[in-house]
């Protein structure tokens, strides 16, 4: 699994059978310091709650389809969780420290959410 930022949504009316009702989001993969790394990918949202601007983690390859309600769907990237915080451990041997809390999103969401979203209660990760 890897960290990623949701940077957009994909709308597709014609899809292969099995993908109906699956929300597709554009992800920018991040390194563990939350710096963008590599190319953007389209991922299925297996938690049904991720939206533009959010920090998430995703699973790739065959395991992505396992996250979907129908396991036999052509999905190769799936969001499997929303990140509240990446908590660096005290004796990080490399000396490099990941931010203890999620920094505000650098880029504004690329597209507005298609429906009103209920804000989640965050227990931590916000100043």
């Amino acid at each position: 699994m890897q960290l990623a930022r949701v940077i957009g949504t994909v709308v597709a009316t014609v899809k292969t059978p099995g993908l109906e009702g699956v929300k597709l989001l554009v992800l920018q993969p991040l390194d563990r310091h939350l710096v963008p790394v590599g190319g953007q990918v389209v991922a299925a949202d297996a938690v049904h709650m991720a939206g533009p601007g959010e920090l998430v983690y995703f699973v790739a390859a065959r395991e992505a389809a396992e996250a979907m309600p129908n396991r036999f769907v052509p999905v190769d990237h799936a969001i499997v969780g929303i990140v509240d915080a990446v908590r660096s451990l005290a004796n990080d041997a490399s000396g490099a420290r990941a931010p203890a809390v999620e920094p505000p999103s650098a880029a504004p969401p690329a597209a507005p959410a298609a429906r009103p979203r209920v804000r989640r209660q965050r227990t931590e990760g916000r100043p």
Binding site: G81, I82, V83, S94
Partner: protein
């Protein structure tokens, strides 16, 4: 399998049901000498690995699900061991 060092944890309250209650560890990948080789993976902890420890990562889905006893879970990377030392080409790290 891959060598890695545990550097952080991911706190997540909203996740796929199969991941509920599992510890997510951010692991920097290492070369055999113990130097970070650049990449990282978020892995599920199966052995109780802690901060700064060098660990063995399993990065294959079927084996990962078997280790965790979680058939059908969207899991690919699991921490399956804590490394005491790596010896090779006359060097020990």
């Amino acid at each position: 399998m891959k060598l890695a060092r545990v550097v952080a944890t991911v706190v997540s309250t909203i996740s796929a049901p199969d991941l509920d209650g599992r510890t997510l560890l951010v692991c920097d990948l290492l070369d055999p000498s113990g130097t970070p080789s650049g990449g990282y993976l978020i892995a599920i902890d199966a052995v109780g690995a802690g901060a700064g420890e060098t660990v063995l990562l399993l990065d294959e889905g079927n084996s990962a699900r078997q280790v965790l006893g979680a058939p059908g879970a969207p899991i690919r990377t699991v921490v399956v061991g804590i490394v005491d030392e790596v010896t090779g080409a006359g060097t020990t790290s």
